[in-house]
């Protein structure tokens, strides 16, 4: 189970990233954040965000129209 879940469905660039960053602050170091989004651009963006900030993108999957990201707070 992730420590927190962010519902970013229906939001467009750059809101999924901005909300992710904000909610990561509430996740303890080493904890995980689950992000749900419908913006297809968030697939590439979430990977870039994680690489740049040093957080670990553990999972990036798609279920129907919903993209699911699991981020480990290591940044």
């Amino acid at each position: 189970m992730p420590d927190k879940t962010l519902d970013a469905k229906g939001l467009n660039c750059p809101l999924p990233i901005l909300r992710t960053k904000k909610m990561l602050n509430e996740v303890p170091a080493g904890g995980t954040l689950e992000v749900l989004a419908t913006d297809p651009g968030s697939v590439a963006d979430m990977a870039s965000f994680c690489r740049t900030t040093g957080n670990e993108l553990v999972e990036s999957t798609k279920d129907g129209d919903v993209f699911r990201f699991l981020i480990k707070h290591t940044g």
């Binding site: 229906g10 939001l11 750059p14 809101l15 901005l18 992710t20 913006d39 965000f49 740049t52 940044g75």
Partner: protein, 172 residues
């Protein structure tokens, strides 16, 4: 950090930094600088925005942003499954600008795109530094009390001092 006298200092020595010169203040052109600034800040980048000429009104407390289809053949609005650009002779008719602005604002809301007000608030919250061009303030007679709190005043040298030590410098 922004000091009271308008000089800008960097954060951690290895922190990346970016500056954006913002020169356009229409509803459409306000997006690129604010999207990039908020995202950069979220990615840990020390970000500075310098508002000059027609970009300066983006620092007014009360935003009243508009678009104009006049002279913009690339502005093709989705309509009835197609994309339609507006001929210039139509765009000159009174009321067309406010109609097009209303359409754009509806699309923004419908597609889950943030408003410029929201993005600006998030940029301020993320400590993006906003510098208002003093010369433009004088030229167009803007008063400091009409501008948002949290911005500082500065000129070309203030901007350049920060730009010279930044990793990314953009002109929008």
């Amino acid at each position: 950090m922004t000091e009271g006298n308008g000089t800008v200092t960097n954060g951690a020595p290895n922190q990346k930094s970016m500056t954006i010169i913002v020169t356009k203040g229409t509803l459409d052109w306000a997006y690129p600088p604010f999207i990039l600034a908020t995202t950069a800040a979220a990615m840990g980048v020390n970000t500075t925005m310098f508002f000059t000429f027609y970009g300066l009104p983006l620092l007014l407390k009360k935003l009243d942003l508009k678009i104009s289809p006049l002279g913009n053949p690339a502005m093709k609005m989705p309509m009835m499954g197609m994309h339609m650009a507006m001929p210039n002779w139509v765009a000159t008719i009174p009321g067309v600008d406010s109609g097009a602005t209303g359409m754009m604002k509806n699309m923004i809301k419908k597609k889950g795109v943030a408003s410029i007000d929201e993005l600006r608030d998030m940029a301020l919250e993320a400590e993006v530094k906003m510098i208002a061009c003093q010369m433009t303030m004088d030229l167009f007679e803007y008063k400091e009390e009409d501008m948002i709190e949290g911005m500082t005043l500065g000129g070309a040298a203030t901007y350049l001092e920060q730009a010279l030590k930044s990793d990314v410098n953009l002109f929008v």
